[in-house]
């Protein structure tokens, strides 16, 4: 093995502290993005619980619904909403990097992909929220 290779191996074996993702802003953003999975899983579990209550009958479902109108529940859901917006923004920002560089021989520029992604997200959200409010 060359001396250079040995040096590289020694560096890669240096133990990282558990707080490695606080050392650099990019690492912190990466970690915050990955951590959004936890509140999102919380919402998925809430949906599952709602489904259980729904199949248990109207009074059972409505007792959960009235509990969810408490400030504590609204605050938890607002936190989940913030995490989910962070997920959406970071996911759409990664979309150009996930696509192949060329599609049918044409170079894919990042700007229209980003514009399309954000425009679609805002339009879909607007439609869902408007329909639900006007029901």
């Amino acid at each position: 093995m060359t001396p250079e290779g040995q040096t590289r191996r020694l560096i890669s074996k240096r133990p990282k502290p558990r707080s490695w993702w606080l050392l650099n802003k990019r690492y912190t953003i990466y970690m915050l993005r990955e951590l959004t999975a936890i509140p999102l899983l919380g919402f998925v579990l809430l949906c599952l619980y709602q489904l259980i209550k729904l199949s248990a009958g109207q009074s059972s479902y409505e007792s959960l619904l009235s509990a969810m109108s408490s400030p504590a529940w609204i605050l938890i859901n607002a936190f989940i909403l913030v995490a989910s917006i962070l997920h959406s923004v970071t996911w759409i920002l990664l979309m150009p990097k996930g696509l192949p560089e060329f599609i049918v021989g044409i170079r894919v520029p990042p700007a229209p992909v980003l514009f399309g992604g954000f425009a679609t997200w805002i339009a879909v959200s607007g439609i869902i929220v408007t329909i639900c409010i006007r029901l």
């Binding site: 999975a37 489904l51 109108s69 609204i74 859901n77 929220v129 639900c132």
Partner: protein, 114 residues
């Protein structure tokens, strides 16, 4: 790399995309506007119960639910080594994927039952 890894990654990716476009609006309605009474009709028992009555809406719910669950579990499995939690990488991702499959099975049973 395990031979199933591309499949898990594919489900993670589909779930991430569905979550990115649909989840903020869904959380706003289900978690905030519905309980606060601003969109109370959207989360009422009668409305949700009848919305989940049809086969197409059941399939839609399962697809959205299972892919988003798979996305979250895959990411949490990958977080385990990142956060230096002393559980092996393989075990963490297996537990995550298994958990997502169990949750999907639970939703299927609940929807077929109703």
């Amino acid at each position: 790399m395990h031979k199933l890894e591309p499949m898990w990654w594919g489900l993670f990716s589909v779930g991430g995309t569905i979550a990115a476009f649909l989840l903020p609006a869904m959380i706003l309605v289900v978690g905030i506007l519905g309980p606060m009474g601003i969109a109370s009709e959207a989360t009422s028992f009668v409305r949700i119960d009848s919305a989940l009555d049809g086969l197409i809406s059941k399939i839609g719910f399962v697809v959205v639910f299972s892919t988003i669950t798979m996305h979250c579990m895959h990411r949490i499995g990958a977080l385990v080594p990142d956060l230096k939690i002393p559980v092996s990488k393989k075990l963490a991702s297996a537990i995550g994927h298994l958990g997502a499959l169990i949750m999907t099975a639970a939703v299927l049973v609940l929807l077929l039952d109703s």
